[in-house]
C-alpha cells in the first residue's frame, strides 16, 4: 500500500513538473526598431571598402555537411592576406555573413556563438557525437511519451531541447546580440515555411513580419528548424502576433500593387512576406531549409542582386 502511494505521488509530481507540454513560444514584439534586434547592421561594424567582404553559404547534408563546413573554416583560418596597413590578416576574420541550411547550420551557429573555442571543441561537441542515437534514446524516456501526447509538443521540440542542452548550451539570439559588435559573423539560419513553401530566415528582419522578438528564441530551436527533416519530425511552430507592430517594408506594398507593378517582378517574395500579416495567420510551420534552398544561396543571391533584402549588399555598395 505504501509503495502504491509513493508511486502515485511520484506520478503526480511527474505530471506537475511536465505541466501541459508546449513548445517554447517566441515572444511578441510591441514595436519595430531598425536599430535593435539581430540584424546585420546591429551585429557588424560598417564594412570598409579596403577589406575583403566574405560571405559564406553552408549547404545541407547532415553531419557530412557540418564536417565539410568545419573543414572550410579550418582552411580559411590558414589563409592570410596583406592588409592595406601592411599587416597580415586571416581570411577567417573577414567573414561578414554566414548563411546556412540544415547540417551546415550546426557549424555556423556554433561558430557564431563560440568563435574563440570553435576549432577546439566543435568536433567533440558535435561531429563525433552520435546525435541520431541521442535523439532515438529520448524516445524511450516515459517522460517524453507523456509530453509527446500533447498536441503542442512534438519530436522537433524535443530535438531542439536536446541540441540546446548538448551542443548550444541553452544560448539564445540574445546571447548572440550580447557579443561585442563585429566579434562574430552575422548568422543567417535558413528554414522553410511549409505553409507558403518559402525560405524563412532567423533574423530580426524576418521576425518583424511575425511581430516577434528573435532575441527570445533559442539558437538550438533555429538550428532544429533549419535541419527539420520532413517525416522524421513534425514542423516546428512559431507564433505570429497578428495585432501588428509596424508597417511592412516599402518594397512589399510596391511589389504587390498591380497598378504599378505590371511586370509582377518580386511578387512571389512580397506575397510570402505579406502573408505573415494576414489576420487569420496565427502560426508559421517550419521544416528543413533544404526544401526551399539546400545550398543556402538564395539569401545571399537576393542580397547581392536586390535592395529588398534586409542585409542587401547592393545597399552597402550604394
Amino acid at each position: 500500500m505504501r509503495v502504491r502511494v509513493v508511486g502515485l505521488i511520484g506520478c503526480l509530481l511527474g505530471l506537475f513538473s511536465a505541466g501541459c507540454a508546449h513548445y517554447p513560444d517566441n515572444p511578441p514584439l510591441s514595436e519595430l526598431s531598425p536599430q535593435a534586434g539581430y540584424r546585420y547592421s546591429v551585429v557588424r561594424e560598417e564594412a570598409k571598402p579596403e577589406n575583403p567582404f566574405v560571405l559564406l553559404a553552408f549547404s545541407g547534408g547532415g553531419t557530412r555537411a557540418a564536417a565539410f563546413s568545419f573543414g572550410l573554416m579550418e582552411e580559411l583560418r590558414q589563409v592570410s592576406y596583406a592588409a592595406p596597413d601592411g599587416s597580415r590578416r586571416r581570411l577567417l576574420d573577414s567573414v561578414e555573413i554566414v548563411s546556412s541550411v540544415s547540417g551546415g547550420s550546426f557549424t555556423s551557429a556554433y561558430y557564431a556563438l563560440f568563435p574563440e573555442r570553435f576549432f577546439d571543441d566543435f568536433p567533440e561537441r558535435f561531429l563525433y557525437r552520435n546525435i541520431q542515437a541521442g535523439l532515438v534514446l529520448r524516445l524511450f524516456n516515459p517522460y517524453n511519451w507523456y509530453r509527446l501526447a500533447f498536441p503542442n509538443f512534438s519530436r522537433i521540440d524535443m530535438a531542439a531541447e536536446y541540441y540546446g542542452n548538448t551542443v548550444f548550451e541553452g544560448k539564445s539570439f540574445a546571447d548572440l546580440l550580447a557579443r561585442p559588435r563585429g566579434s562574430a559573423p552575422f548568422l543567417v539560419l535558413n528554414a522553410t515555411d511549409i505553409g507558403i513553401a518559402h525560405r524563412f530566415e532567423f533574423t530580426q528582419d524576418q521576425f518583424d513580419l511575425l511581430c516577434s522578438d528573435l532575441a527570445g528564441v533559442a539558437v538550438s530551436r533555429a538550428v532544429a528548424a533549419s535541419s527539420n527533416f520532413p517525416v522524421a519530425f513534425a514542423p516546428l511552430t512559431l507564433d505570429i502576433y497578428p495585432k501588428g507592430c509596424g508597417a511592412l517594408p516599402d518594397w512589399i506594398p510596391n511589389a504587390l500593387d498591380p497598378q504599378q507593378n505590371g511586370e509582377k517582378s518580386r511578387v512571389f517574395d512580397a506575397r510570402a512576406a505579406a502573408s505573415y500579416r494576414e489576420p487569420d495567420r496565427k502560426f508559421a510551420h517550419l521544416l528543413d531549409g533544404g526544401l526551399s534552398d539546400n545550398l543556402g544561396l538564395r539569401g545571399p543571391f537576393q542580397a547581392v542582386t536586390t535592395t529588398d533584402s534586409a542585409w542587401s549588399l547592393v545597399q552597402l555598395q550604394n
Binding site: 510596391n254 536586390t306 547592393v314 545597399q315 550604394n318
Partner: protein
C-alpha cells in the same frame, strides 16, 4: 541590376524603399549612380537641413537601365 541617379540642385541622402543609400552627389558635385533591382521603388531625397523636396516620394519603375544611362529620378528642393 538596375541603375539610377537623383539629380537635384542640393545634396541630400537618397532613401530607397525606406533605406538610406547614401548621398546623391560626391564632394565635387558629380551625381552618384545607385544600384537597385528591377521593379517599382519608392525614392525620396532627404536633406541635412530638413528642407522638403518635391516630390516628397517618387514611385518609379526602374528597368532596362545600365550604368551609362541610369534612370533619372529628379527632385526639386527648397
Amino acid at each position: 541590376m538596375e541603375f539610377f541617379v537623383c539629380p537635384c540642385s542640393k545634396t541630400g541622402h537618397i532613401i530607397l524603399d525606406g533605406h538610406d543609400q547614401g548621398p546623391n552627389k560626391d564632394n565635387s558635385g558629380k551625381l552618384l549612380t545607385k544600384q537597385c533591382n528591377a521593379g517599382f521603388h519608392t525614392i525620396s531625397l532627404k536633406l541635412g537641413s530638413g528642407a522638403a523636396c518635391s516630390p516628397l516620394q517618387a514611385h518609379v519603375d526602374i528597368y532596362d537601365t545600365d550604368p551609362i544611362s541610369p534612370k533619372e529620378v529628379a527632385f526639386q528642393c527648397a
